[in-house]
Amino acid sequence: MTTATSTPARPAPPGGPAPTTMAQAINRALRDAMAADDTVHVLGEDVGALGGVFRVTDGLTAEFGEERCTDTPLAEAGILGTAAGMAMYGLRPVVEMQFDAFAYPAFEQLVSHVARMRNRTRGSLPMPLTIRVPYGGGIGGVEHHSDSSEVYYMATPGLHVVTPATVADAYGMLRSAIASDDPVLFLEPKRLYWSKETIDLSSPPACEPLGRAVVRRAGTSATLISYGPSVSVCLEAAEAAREEGWELEVLDLRTLVPFDDETAAAAVRRTGRAVVVHEASGFAGPGAEIAARLTERCFHHLQAPVLRVTGFDIPYPPPMLEKHHLPGVDRVLDAVARLQWESDHTEGGAA
């Protein structure tokens, strides 16, 4: 079932900087994209009158009509499959999967068709689809409402996989995703929907293009590498780390596929130590690829192995226990402490 918010994502006023939630920024990005390009169609469960269970599509049907923002029957393979057909006709569908775990019924359509149609047809049938998936935990959702499913998509060639960590990025990256001629998994960190920034959506701030990672905080001691919902945890950890005498750099990957090797490797080489942080389970999770490829590229700069702070290798836990599962500041700092610092080793030696 659906743990919905009843607070509508009312769009920010049209002009001037205003406090804006991520849900509002996404809503605005959809509106602006639909207004700018009449081939953009939104479809999914409850995206119409209800405005989506997170109110992200609020007002779109009212403004653009049922044909542009359509409540579909309840069938995710059908949603993605028909959207693929619409894309074959030249439209730019934006599909909403209501929750991460409810995208699984569409897995075959995604892997066997959406990801491969361009290739199979030598570009004759590109798939300019955006698939919006609210993902991750931290909102007290009951089972099947908090999966971090990004690695399934990362492991599927032909897809782009992106996820914003800031309100401004949510706007800018979604506009870019919709404009992309390739299928983009646009993963929306559920627990950031209500995060706020003061921005002016009538002249949206410039945003790095998809495919670029961004350093959110400079540092010299070690690099925290993260994305989506875990970036703020890393920033907090970096703040707290000052007490320990560490200056941590925080990298927001933004795009998981294609991976920004250049920026990420540079960040790791700068500090020689790195911790990857994400909510998804660790085993064969996103951090595995990140750690492996950065180690390949930066081996001789590393003072310690790239460590991972991730969710446990268990089914996503229930509301009452999720705090133990989610990587928090302490667990990040613990990992940083294990990066084989000299002072530490002296201690270690004395112990």
Binding site: M1, G48, E244, P318, R331, D334, Q340
Partner: protein, 414 residues
Amino acid sequence: MTVLEQTPGRDESGARPTPPTAGWRPRTDPAPLLPDETPFRLLGTGARLDKRRKELWRELYRGLVHGRRYNRQATALTRQGRLAVYPSSTGQEACEVAAALALAEQDWLFPSYRDTLAVVARGVDPVEALTLLRGDWHTGYDPRAVRVAPLSTPLATQLPHAVGLAHAARLRGDDVVALAMVGDGGTSEGDFHEALNFAAVWRAPVVFLVQNNGFAISVPLAKQTAAPSLAHKAVGYGVPGRLVDGNDAPAVHQVLGEAVAHARAGGGPTLVEALTYRVEAHTNADDATRYRTDEDVAPWLGHDPVALLEAELRNRRLLTDREADAIAEEAEAMAADLRGRMNTDPALDPEDLFAHVYAEPTTHLREQAAMLRGELAADAADDPDRADTPARRRATGRDDHADDHRQNHQERAA
């Protein structure tokens, strides 16, 4: 002849396809599979009742009153933060209660996420039935002991489970029927289709109950299907389709009872569509005013399952004021008990996170459990010198603890 060879799809020639003669005919007669034009009803029809049925109707009434009260109490508990979410079945109590009562002891119930009430009506402890919705990690009740599958959140995915279980029981020669519940929205999922088809081909003893309550969250039936009725889907699987007034508890019970008996006798599955209405919002977190008006709801309030049955019982002099009061009091007591027992957070052990992922926790999970245990111990230790420095909490088993750690490090630092 084995069970599978008795399935109706097979003609005498076994696996051979129908020959291409001019005499081709449908492989089964579709007519008896089609639902009646009007939903089956019992209330208000003046049906004659024997003693057993009188008792049944009173029992149904008691279930409806309890159910209504349970729904109200559970919704209240969400407001108090005692439940993460509650999808109420107010207005649908007739289906919930009749489904539970239509089953025999050994049968299995496969509820959808909205069907807590059916689970409770089947006899599961009212608190246990709320365990998942409360935010705990498990079903609460022991599904095998009570023969109730976990409440299924991914829609329609429980339907193939019901088919497989019923089929397995039949193969083992056991007398078990499975009753699977799904919403109108859920019928659009591929799993609905595949479950119905497997059940029909295997002639599995399953009854599918679709509660057509008019909505899938905000999406009305008209956007869900263009079918004459959902019961008309049955013929496409070679299965009888039945249509019933879902707010008429005795009628629902009778249709389900017949379907269960048919399945038990080896007749295979039935698809039942119960016409009902979701009177409350989708869940406590939903805002129904966005997609329907009070006017939309009003006619259904006049067709309330509790009120309908109560009126009929009183008309027939099968319910006195005193009895009605007693039932209401009982329901009140049940609600008070529920309130009381839900008033405290359950004691959850974080280490349970790792206990049932596999039959035996893997080494890997044991390491993770140890790490969590270490963290919790550090948090618990009040000694600030030991607890405030996260660096003091160390996971084990890493290479930095290997024998030659220091030596390596020194080489490197050199």
